[in-house]
Amino acid sequence: MGITKTIFSGFGGQGVLMMGYVLATSGMHEDKHVTFLPSYGAEVRGGTANCTITVSDEPIASPVASFPDFAVLMNTPSVMRFEGGVKSGGAVFLNSDLVELRPKRRDIQVVAIPVNNIAERLGNARSANMVMIGAFVQKTGLVSLKSVIKSVKSIFETKGTKVHKINTLALKEGAAFVKGLSGS
């Protein structure tokens, strides 16, 4: 698999950093090398938050991604900012409920997932990020869905079983949605 870099980006509050944290934790559980690099410092209310996750079979030199393999984009400004940098042959994952814009590039794959709708149907709009990460790992195979479920359990353990259950369900629904798309 080598070294794979993913950027997660969206509004503050969409759980963008949590998605990255779940992916990095899952990679760690699979004994891979991982780094999580958040954007930090002078942020503005309503502005974008993003983080870069590297998952690798070998030690990671730089945790920065100038040209990420994947980008998970939860809002329109994120598409504008990150579409250009994605590696040719890579993929972008869009929150199609919020993002009307579609990438112009033809050399990257676009996976559009109505994560807000799915999360609301499950009864908790706040689990939209978990729907997305479930879809992301199902499609990319970067880590196994099993590892992600395990990570989410460990991360949300202290918040009670209800929170953990809804998040696990959201992960599985996200994965199922992607499976349903052209049988991938």
Binding site: A24, M28, F36, L37, P38, Y40, G41, P59, I60
Partner: protein
């Protein structure tokens, strides 16, 4: 021992706690605020620990000074401009031979600079920083795990030599999360007893800790004592990492974040058949100059790479003299260079000298 995914500044704070640190004072500044944040929570769980958000950097370093005098393992942290404010206190601690650990998560330039990762404070950290001709031991971690091991080592060295020790990192080291493994915590009561602390003179003669020596003879003797101590540190405590240097024709010399990226560059050019390696000083003071000079028996081209416009390169030149060509590649200001960038610089050097 289980792996935990942890932010660098949290890893430093947890490692310090496990090293027996029981006093922390600091004043907020980005990009290291997560360190005192973690400390404030962690120390609240301990009965014998004190966390103070001080009213200023100056107050914080003086509180650390007091705690250290009382024999407690003490620490403060800040970022470049805040470290400048602490220099008076660090100088006094050097003059009073007080141990303490000072974490500097460096910024990108003079004045307020910026909060992006940079190595602009190498000279300040390694050449004393404050007045009076003292030195501080300076440790430069390059990974989450090394933040843990070097934080613990910093406390041990501080106590062993009764000296302030600086842990020198940057925004990338402080903000990035990586898996880390912690050793078991040390019980502070089990640490070697200090025979110089000010802990009440009941049943013994009183002690004095001061940095004032009005009698020039006395002052000279004290300065020579410091000089002997620093010579002993230089003799015993240098630490470095050698990576793929055995058959190398070019050695990149880099520390901290820059070294981590340089290692990626070395791997990259090795795949292309170019023989490059990495020499990474882990102690910046004492600088591993002898080890670097030994290297020049076989490697005649050194490429110093720093995230500044040339600071450690002075120590490299002093160490190797005329024994090797010393080149410099720098990215000052908070740009995080890529392995590709440094790989290109290595390749250029190999072409230039037909290596």
């Amino acid at each position: 021992m289980t792996k935990q995914l942890m932010r660098g500044s949290h890893a430093i704070a947890e490692a310090a706690t496990r090293a027996g640190c029981r006093f922390y004072a600091g004043y907020p500044i980005t990009p290291q605020n997560e360190l005192p944040e973690y400390m404030s929570v962690r120390f609240a769980q301990l009965e014998d620990a004190t966390f103070v958000q001080a009213e200023s950097e100056l107050a914080a370093i003086n509180m650390v000074m007091g705690a250290s005098m009382a024999g407690v393992r003490a620490m403060t942290s800040s970022s470049s401009p805040g470290i400048s404010l602490k220099q008076e206190g660090i100088s006094y601690m050097a003059g009073m031979e007080l141990p303490a650990v000072i974490v500097n998560i460096m910024r990108g330039g003079p004045g307020l600079g910026n909060i992006a990762p940079s190595q602009q404070d190498y000279l300040q950290a390694t050449k004393g920083g404050g007045h009076g001709g003292y030195r501080t031991i300076v440790l430069a971690p390059c990974s989450g795990q090394e933040l843990v091991t070097l934080t613990i080592k910093a406390f041990d060295l501080a106590d062993a030599y009764r000296s302030p020790v600086i842990l020198l990192g940057d925004g990338l080291m402080g903000q990035m999360m990586e898996p880390v493994i912690f050793p078991d915590p040390i019980d502070p009561a089990a640490l070697p007893k200090k025979d110089w602390t000010l802990d009440g003179a009941r049943g013994r003669d009183s002690r004095l800790i001061a940095s004032l020596h009005l009698d020039p003879t006395e002052m000279e003797q004290f300065n020579w004592k410091l000089a002997r101590k620093y010579a002993a540190i230089c003799e015993r405590e240098t630490e470095h990492e050698s990576y793929l240097l055995d058959d190398a024709v070019v050695a990149v010399v880099a520390f901290g974040t820059a070294a981590r990226i340089a290692k990626g560059a070395v791997n990259r050019v090795r795949k292309a058949g170019l023989k490059a390696g990495l020499f990474r000083p882990i102690t910046l003071w004492p600088f591993p100059g002898k080890e670097l000079r030994d290297l020049t028996r076989t490697i005649k081209s050194l490429l110093v790479f720093e995230m500044n416009f040339g600071q450690m390169v002075e120590d490299v030149k002093l160490s190797v003299g005329e024994q090797a060509r010393v080149h410099f590649h720098g990215r000052p200001g908070g740009i995080i260079p890529t392995p590709h960038d440094i790989g290109a610089a290595i390749t250029k050097l190999i072409h230039r000298y037909g290596l």
